[in-house]
């Protein structure tokens, strides 16, 4: 049982991941899909960050009396991944703006309806 709760950080990450993933699949609004995608990516960031934590360890700073510290590498990796996430969101939002200009809507079902009318 302690194993089950001792790994609560992973449960949180997986829960958020599923929330995001569900939103990407189930929502018809293009912006809401992007928000879902964002939550999905952020959950992976949490997975990485909590992975680097060493129990009882301090921040990874050189100083007197510090013997055990958290692993800084996953944190640094996630800085890069956050930048990637921001870039993805901005490209996605830019595309949504262009879709709105071209079609006048950002609802997926209306976009599909327009398509079948034109064909």
């Amino acid at each position: 049982m302690s194993d089950f709760w001792g790994l609560y950080n992973y449960w949180i990450a997986i829960f958020l991941m599923m929330v995001g993933f569900y939103n990407v699949i189930a929502r018809g609004n293009l912006i809401k899909k992007l928000i879902g995608l964002n939550i999905f990516q952020t959950s992976v960031f949490l997975l990485y960050i909590s992975m680097g934590k060493v129990e009882g360890g301090s921040a990874p700073i050189v100083g007197a009396g510090i013997s055990s510290f958290s692993n800084p590498l996953p944190h640094v990796l996630i800085l890069t991944a956050i930048v990637v996430g921001v870039a993805t969101t901005s490209v996605g939002l830019a595309l949504v703006v262009r879709i709105k200009e071209a079609y006048g809507t950002i609802e997926e079902d209306e976009l599909i309806a327009q398509e079948s009318v034109t064909q």
Partner: protein, 492 residues
């Protein structure tokens, strides 16, 4: 200078991309981009030459040795893919200006070139790097740039295609990120060579099984294996022709390379095929993909879309070869990466030529095109024959090895299915032949001039290559076989 050669293919397009953005004159922009791709191509050719004579090259970034620094590790497999990607980019760049003048918004050429070069940077970076996390970063660089260059097509549906590709591509990339995280969790390293060493000790843990699952799903999404291919047809159809020619020939191929790299050199063929039974998933999916995608291709009314579905089928052949897990199967897979890239790039270039003159890629508009654009139509037929796998073309070489591989493992039904599926390819190529040569041109048809030389030269060079490598197999099948042996031996 020579010791810094491995960094040239990455740094050059990356620096040239913002420069392109600053330039205003269209000729300068295309001139700079073309010059850059050709220098990159020369560097990659030199790298392949060095690797094949004197073995793998290791380049430490900034002088920091692995595992602290990021290292670039070039061996036969990725040198081969580097050469392929840079060659396609260099040819597409010659082809591009005329086609772009027709299909791109006139004031966006500098931005387009910048995104194109970034996409190239990403693709080459994925291939060259020896660091697992670096793969993810470069993967996102190339994907983000490709969403941008796909979305500039004239048809507004290109926007929706790019959006869908963005959603699926990001899910795929995030899955890969999760897998890399789990692998790091168990081994404490991101360096591929170290990962390969240390994963052996923790093979049996559930974390590594999960990592493998995330990795394979993420990568198959990126490389568009059936049934994860849904982003591909629209993206290829509505993107500008030159983008389709480039992306179809490179981006899925690079993803297949990453798949090979992770499955064979990091996890090891033993783990993938005897512990996980990867072939039990890959082979059926590949076969189903070949048949469904080829059948769907037959019913398309748009030539670009037809070729897009054909791409999904061809990726099925590549994955079938890889799924066999034998030297011959793997040789077929690796050879077909190269061969299919040549053929598909040439075919999409033909479509670009037709779009340039007819302003449409719909089959019904192409009635009688065989007499109105004889050379271009003949080029399509030639490429189509290679796609079907007629002897003396490259397509035959890969199909031959694929059949040998299937027979070696006594998979008679698979061999029969591969032959049968070639018939489907013949049918969808025939669709074009029938429209182009056997239907009369519309009465009001005006004479069409041949496409400009700058578009024809790269096209015919590619077709000449498909014929040349169909006879002279040392370079493609020979290197593919050496690479296959090397991968199955578990790399370094």
């Amino acid at each position: 200078m020579n010791s810094h050669l491995p960094i040239v293919p990455i740094i050059l397009p990356m620096v040239a991309a913002p420069l392109c953005m600053l330039l205003r004159r269209r000729t300068f922009v295309w001139g700079l981009a073309t010059a850059v791709t050709w220098v990159v191509f020369a560097a990659c050719a030199q790298l392949l030459l060095q690797v094949s004579t004197s073995g793998p090259i290791i380049y430490t970034m900034g002088g920091w040795n692995a595992p602290i620094g990021i290292e670039y590790r070039i061996d036969l497999v990725n040198a081969y893919i580097l050469l392929l990607v840079s060659a396609i980019a260099a040819l597409v760049m010659i082809y591009a200006p005329q086609s772009a003048a027709r299909e791109l918004p006139p004031d966006r050429h500098n931005l387009f070139c910048a995104a194109f070069l970034l996409c190239l940077t990403g693709l080459l970076g994925i291939t060259i790097t020896g660091d697992a996390f670096n793969v993810y970063v470069f993967l996102e660089i190339s994907s983000l740039a490709s969403y941008a260059i796909i979305s500039v097509g004239r048809d507004p549906r290109s926007l929706k295609a790019a959006y869908n590709y963005l959603i699926m591509g990001t899910i795929g990339a995030t899955f890969i990120l999760i897998a890399i995280g789990l692998m790091y969790m168990m081994t404490g390293t991101l360096n591929m060579a170290d990962l390969a060493q240390r994963l052996k000790e923790v093979h049996d843990t559930r974390t590594i099984h999960v990592a493998f699952a995330f990795l394979s799903v993420g990568l198959t999404l990126k490389l568009a294996l059936f049934p994860m291919h849904v982003w591909l047809p629209n993206a290829y159809t509505y993107a500008p022709s030159l983008v389709t020619a480039f992306v179809a020939a490179t981006s899925t191929k690079v993803s297949i390379y990453v798949f090979l790299r992770f499955v064979f050199t990091i996890f090891g063929a033993d783990y993938a095929f005897t512990t996980i039974h990867l072939n039990a998933i890959l082979v059926p999916l590949a076969l189903v993909g070949i048949f469904i995608a080829s059948t769907v291709a037959i019913y398309q009314t748009d030539l670009k879309r037809l070729l897009a579905y054909s791409s999904i089928a061809q990726i099925g052949y590549i994955m079938l070869g890889i799924g066999m897990g034998t030297v011959t199967g793997l040789t077929a897979g690796i050879a077909h990466i190269f061969n299919h890239a040549l053929i598909k790039c040439a075919l999409f270039m033909v479509v670009g030529c037709i779009v340039l003159r007819l302003d449409s890629s719909r089959l019904e508009d192409m009635a009688g095109i065989g007499r109105r654009m004889p050379a271009t139509s003949f080029a399509f037929v030639l490429g189509g024959l290679a796609l079907i796998g007629v002897p003396f073309t490259v397509g035959f070489i890969s199909k031959w090895y694929l059949l040998l591989g299937a027979l070696e493992r006594d998979w008679w039904p698979v061999a029969a299915l591969v032959l049968l599926s070639s018939l489907l390819a013949a049918v969808y190529i025939w669709r074009f032949v029938e429209v182009a040569y056997f239907r009369p041109a519309p009465d009001d048809a005006t004479p069409i001039s041949a496409p400009p030389l700058s578009m024809q030269i790269p096209l015919w060079l590619l077709l000449a290559a498909t014929l040349f490598f169909g006879v002279q197999t040392d370079l493609t099948a020979g290197i593919a076989q050496r690479a296959a042996l090397w991968l199955l031996a578990g790399g370094p």
